[in-house]
Amino acid sequence: MNAYFHLWLIPLAPFAGFLINGILGRRLPKWLVTTVALLTPLAAFGVVLNAALGFFGIGKGVIPVIGSLPLPFTETFPLPWIDIGSLRVDFSFVLDQLSLVMLLVVTGVGFLIHIYSVGYMGGEKGYARYFSFLNLFLFFMTVLVLAGNALVMFIGWEGVGLASYLLIGFWFQKKSAADAGKKAFIVNRIGDFGFLIGMFLLLANFGTLSFSAIGEKLIANPGWQGGVLTVIALCLLLGATGKSAQLPLYIWLPDAMEGPTPVSALIHAATMVTAGVYMITRTHVLFDHSPFALGAVAVVGAATALLAATIGTVEHDIKRVLAYSTISQLGYMFLGCGVAAYSAAIFHLVTHAFFKALLFLAAGSVIHAVGGEQDLRRLGGLWKKLPVTFAVTTIGVLAIAGFYPFAGFYSKDAILYAAFLQGAGGKALWFVGLVTALLTSYYMFRLWYKTFLGKPSSPEAHPHECPWSMMVPLLILAALSICGGWIGMERFGAFLAPAVGVKSMAGNAQLELNLSIAAVAVALLGWLAADRFYRQRPRWASHQAHVNPRIYGLVLHKYYVDEIYGALIVKPLFGISKYLLGWFVDTALLGGGAWLLGGTAQFAGALLQRWQSGNLRSYAAWLAAGAAALLLFIVVPWSTIWPASLNLIFKMAGH
């Protein structure tokens, strides 16, 4: 091993940025804050790029540290973290094909969004705080991706949750933002509980938390299926649903749109929410040995995708539509994992990062242009005033709908193809995926129409295009959304194969072609529907809402899931906290106990105080009493008086 890639620099650079901007940021001039904030993710990206080039053997001799990088490449801190008995956990970073891909996405897209934020958040008071939190997020995310064992990954896992909380509640003076931050963190915690239980079970059954060690053990025992492995996998799935906003823990993601738009783009579209998918892919050997859990992953993914897509068709807030779209696309990724097509899921993760970040940033540009308006009903006719934004949004919408040859087409197709080949259940999942694709196309074009086309809703607004700092990332992401899929599933799968295994597919090229045509046809259908309902007859939608008020209300209120959770879980928790713990334990038991102690001391003191009366005669009396007691104690034979007195009593009773 001739290259030392300094993997630890990748998390360290953003962490340094966090510290500098976090501690000194308020006192530094703005240009310095910006420089620090941009340099650190760039440095991280540079190291990742270095490693990537090293893997491909490019630039030998140009950049000194590159030899040819054999993957997987592990870096371990010389001192162990935990070393007790048979348990040993190290701070280890692992770079393999999977983490390399993820890191490129995280640091690359992250860097672009940092640039965008300079323009978007330029006028904010908490400028330095924003960038320090953003850097903190990058730090934790890279730790998560690079983690070589579950415990280090958990650090990153928890950390990104923390960063998400801090950034969602960035405008913490607004109650809705603060509440959204809390909701995100708490719901994430429920998922983390699953992760923790999974870790404990892993420890109990494998004696180690290192991914490679666990993978080796499982490969060595191909007959070990189901049972405890299913339980572990389901626990990990629970953790993943929390972080990746799937059923039943998706409720935090729409509310998380209270945060600034670049935050939504980075964390809640491209990177943090994909951590669940990444984690499942990392531990895929475990899932492979547990068909039941794998099936559960697929079902969860498909159900969530469909559910979120239906809600997305009626949402009015532009960012919320995109949020539900994210949930839906994450469902696709889970579906891909669930049919053991891990490479396809990761492929979709990458392309989704491109076009979803693009869509969010474009939405941010729109919001920035119209001065904060986010409601679709009040937007419209912006295509003339915001031509660049319009163009990139169109590219993004085409990509997410899955039109050829944009990025989304390739990855979505790969997942649906793999699902279709999975037997009868797989065909059902394929169908659900297809319907979801239809709905995706429909609601994305609905958003497109309502935002850019039609009549301007408020003609007196003067929207202006965004500054170049916001433009450049948009353009880059648009380019990536166009050509991001051109690498093709075969090459991508082959690249990832050493890390995630190869799925042998029993289909043929003709079937694949047919399925692709079906997907594109469905996307076209969605566009036509949106065109009909929103361009040609714009009043059809509200008419439908009046005609079917109950169904409309149900979907508009997101199937009342939040309300159900509130009544089933949140309210009882509040009740327990307030009455059981608050009143009973705190006031009655603890307060009462303290009062009792104090009261006893006071009471005894008051009692004894009267003894110290200063009265000579009472002192004398007590002295005499003491003397009498002493005399009695000495003289009376206590050991014989007991039975003697009993005898006496019996004798007296006898007579």
């Binding site: 009265n615 000579l616 005499a624």
Partner: protein
């Protein structure tokens, strides 16, 4: 008459007398209100104890018992002197000799 003259006194009677005098001393301590009288009750108690010492010295013909009485007398004398000096000081500060009135811990 003769037998009455020649009858011996059991020593237990002396001891009982001593006990009774002692008890009377305690009672005096408890019920008297004048400080000097209280002090006198203490002297009475001391004397009662002296009597019982002498009785026992007689029983076993132990000279040391009587010497102890001697010492007790000396101590009582010293104590009486100092105690009365204290009483005078108290009277100067409080202008009263009633035990119930002298109930503050300091003068």
């Amino acid at each position: 008459m003769n037998s009455l003259f020649l009858q011996e006194v059991p020593l237990s009677w002396y001891l009982l007398l001593s006990a009774v005098l002692f008890a009377l001393g305690i009672v005096g301590f408890l019920i008297k209100r004048n400080l000097i009288t209280v002090f006198m009750s203490i002297e009475l108690m001391l004397n009662a104890v002296n009597l019982s010492f002498v009785t026992f010295a007689h029983q076993w013909h132990a000279v040391k018992g009587q010497i102890f009485v001697f010492f007790v007398m000396m101590v009582a004398a010293a104590e009486a002197a100092v105690g009365l000096a204290i009483i005078i000081a108290v009277f100067r500060a409080r202008a009263t000799l009633s035990v119930d009135r002298i109930d503050l811990m300091k003068l």
